[in-house]
């Protein structure tokens, strides 16, 4: 088990490196000179040149890339150009917000999505199936930020049930305030994912229900609920785990927009600000963080496969 984790991590190194290089290239594609941004509109060319030199931006691109990669190796992610903070501390401050949002949203998505998917598969072809699938379809078709704004108008502005914006840290404000600051964005964020997961779970279940061993189970006298819940779901779980991994990545992407709607000070907001301000080190750092998260999620998915699918466990 541990050996597999280590091997997967080693295998992930080239991907991480590639991610780092791509993050770097992507950033240097962005037109606009951060030195100009920092120096301010009325700074003279000499001042801009001095800042550029201080930041090392006057060196060849390849050299910049190499020195950045070398620094990464020592754990130095660089300093933000505009925040007057190291990248690590800027990210560290905002990570709990995004993590809280993503985890809460995942906690809503997984049970609801899987349950709806199984329900639809069990009642395939009936009105229950049709209703669940229509709901799921609406979930994946409605823009989250739009529903988010409407939801704020209804629940925060009109009804006053939840705060309309801002984040209440768990440790400082206690779980009640924390939850009430996050429940609305987390739920909105889950809408798409629930629809997605329910659709994938249902189609995975239907695939499995078509297979010979399901007929074997019925021929043994196993009840329909048990056939669906035990024989079929255990097999469909492999697909569900994959989808759950995708969903976690999607949640992180979705949080970029939702954090904007609910003014949550998370990574998503940070990265958008950084991109708009041409803050290279910060963008590269956050991109790398996303890449790393992706790699970790994939390793987790692989490990869960080992647990779920005996064929993978042995071969």
């Amino acid at each position: 088990m541990l050996r597999i984790v280590v091997i997967r991590l080693i295998q992930a190194i080239p991907v991480l490196l590639l991610i780092a290089v791509m993050a770097f290239i992507l950033m240097h594609l962005i037109p606009g000179d951060p030195a100009v941004v920092i120096a301010g509109a009325d700074a003279g060319p000499a001042a801009v040149e001095r800042i550029r030199h201080e930041l090392g931006l006057d060196r060849p691109i390849l050299e910049q890339l190499l020195s950045w990669l070398v620094n990464l190796g020592t754990g130095d992610f660089g300093r933000s150009l505009v925040l007057n903070q190291t990248v690590l501390s800027a990210v560290g401050e905002r990570l709990p917000v995004t993590m809280s949002l993503a985890m809460l949203s995942l906690a809503i998505t997984l049970p609801v999505g899987v349950f709806l998917g199984i329900l639809a598969a069990y009642f395939r072809g009936s009105w229950i199936d049709a209703a669940v699938m229509t709901l799921a379809l609406v979930g994946v078709s409605v823009p989250a930020f739009w529903i988010g704004i409407l939801s704020v108008i209804l629940f925060s502005v009109t009804l006053g049930w939840f705060p309309s914006a801002g984040y209440a840290p768990l440790l400082a404000n206690g779980p009640g305030a924390w939850l009430s600051s996050l429940i609305q964005p987390a739920f909105i964020l889950s809408l798409f994912q629930i629809g997605f997961l329910a659709r994938m779970t249902r189609s995975g279940m239907l695939d499995v229900l078509d297979q010979d061993f399901i007929r074997t189970a019925r021929a043994k006298g196993v009840s329909e609920w048990r056939t669906v819940g035990r024989h079929a779901f255990r097999n469909a779980l492999v697909g569900v785990v994959t989808v759950a991994g995708i969903i976690l990545s999607l949640l992180i992407g979705g949080s970029v927009v939702i954090e904007q709607v609910f003014a949550l000070p998370g990574i998503g907001r940070l990265v958008v600000q950084a991109i708009l301000a041409r803050d290279y080190p910060l963008i590269q750092g956050t991109m790398l963080l996303f890449g790393f998260a992706f790699v970790v999620i994939n390793i987790c998915v692989d490990l869960i496969y080992l647990w779920v699918d005996p064929r993978v466990r042995y071969d």
């Binding site: 050996r3 091997i7 997967r8 295998q11 071969d315």
Partner: protein
């Protein structure tokens, strides 16, 4: 037997690497192990074996679909595997064809059957549109299908008809030698007989040679001139048809013959041979059949028998039948 064989295979070996768990050493699967045989003009060599015997891999190596790990394949005097000059395969390609097992996926579902049949012609080039279409119609008629059905799609045909289309495609360039890889295994009995007869008729008309691969001995009996039996990658017995069915020498051939269920009610059935097919990654030492063989003795567990001629074109790889041995009477 003065004529030179059109196909000569010697010491043909194919191994595949097997991916173990991450971090474990790589292992190899020995699919074909030192196989050798000849095919003469106008004859059919039946190649029979169960799953994992290496029969299909051997057939695919003959037409270059799989490259050999070692050994030689000589077709019409050109070496195509093992120390071959590059491009040798292209020189003999048009004389060489393959008929596949599964009529379900041996035809592209999105391609009209006329185009499928014409594919070898189109690749070879040099035919006018008219000549090409005429040839397609001729081929359709040759395999017993209506001339007009070339613009239909595969799903409009039954399994037997699709197998006829596959045969028509194989005949397009007037080949001399066709590898038939279990061409009737996935067909119903009444269709099987039609296809076997079609292949026999075509052989007579066109002077074809076949390597006919099958998984049981009954199917190849009608079509073969000689039969080779494979087990775990190697040929264990090879003989003219009459000898093999009348006097099988290898215990595995005997078991395989006994295993064919016969449509004769009330016939006492010989007990089946025990045991499972061997692993190719970790094969038994010595003779691969020894764990299942009722006659196995010490030598069989240690030394791998070679295919040795015994009499009149009959060869067997069994320590019971080695030159000077008195094994035959022991059976």
């Amino acid at each position: 037997m003065t004529e030179a064989p059109i196909v000569t295979v010697r010491d043909l070996v194919k191994t595949f690497p097997v991916r173990g768990r991450p971090g474990e050493p790589k292992r190899t699967l020995r699919a074909v192990d030192r196989v050798g045989f000849d095919v003469l003009r106008g004859e059919t060599l039946g190649l029979v074996g169960e799953s994992g015997s290496g029969k299909s891999t051997t057939g695919r190596m003959l037409v270059g679909l799989i490259s050999a790990t070692s050994g030689t394949v000589e077709l019409f005097g050109h070496h195509i595997a093992g120390g071959a000059e590059k491009g040798a395969l292209n020189k003999v390609r048009s004389r060489l064809q393959f008929v596949f097992q599964d009529p379900q996926n041996s035809l592209n579902p999105r391609m009209r059957v006329g185009d499928a049949i014409a594919e070898p012609l189109d690749v070879a080039g040099g035919l006018s549109r008219q000549a090409r279409n005429d040839r397609v119609q001729e081929l359709l008629e040759l395999v017993g299908l209506p001339r007009s059905c070339g613009d239909r799609f595969p799903h409009e045909f039954s399994g037997g008809q699709r197998q006829r289309i596959g045969i028509a495609r194989a005949l397009a360039l007037r080949p001399d030698f066709i590898v038939c890889d279990e061409p009737v295994s996935s067909l119903d009995v009444s269709m099987q007989a039609q296809i076997v007869n079609l292949l026999l008729d075509l052989q007579e008309q066109l002077g074809l040679s076949y390597l006919f691969i099958a998984h049981d001995l009954a199917v190849v009996r009608n079509i073969s001139t000689r039969v080779a039996v494979m087990y775990a990658g190697g040929i264990v017995e090879m003989a003219p048809k009459r000898d093999l069915y009348a006097a099988p020498k290898h215990p595995y051939t005997q078991a395989l013959l006994a295993a064919v269920p016969r449509p004769v009610p009330g016939r006492a059935r010989a007990p089946s041979v025990a045991g499972e097919l061997p692993s190719l990654i970790d094969p038994p030492k010595g003779c691969a059949f020894h764990p299942r063989c009722p006659f196995a003795f010490d030598r069989c567990r240690i030394e791998k028998p070679r295919l040795n001629p015994v009499e009149g074109g009959h060869a067997v790889a069994c320590h019971l039948h080695e030159a000077g041995g008195s094994g035959t009477s022991a059976l």
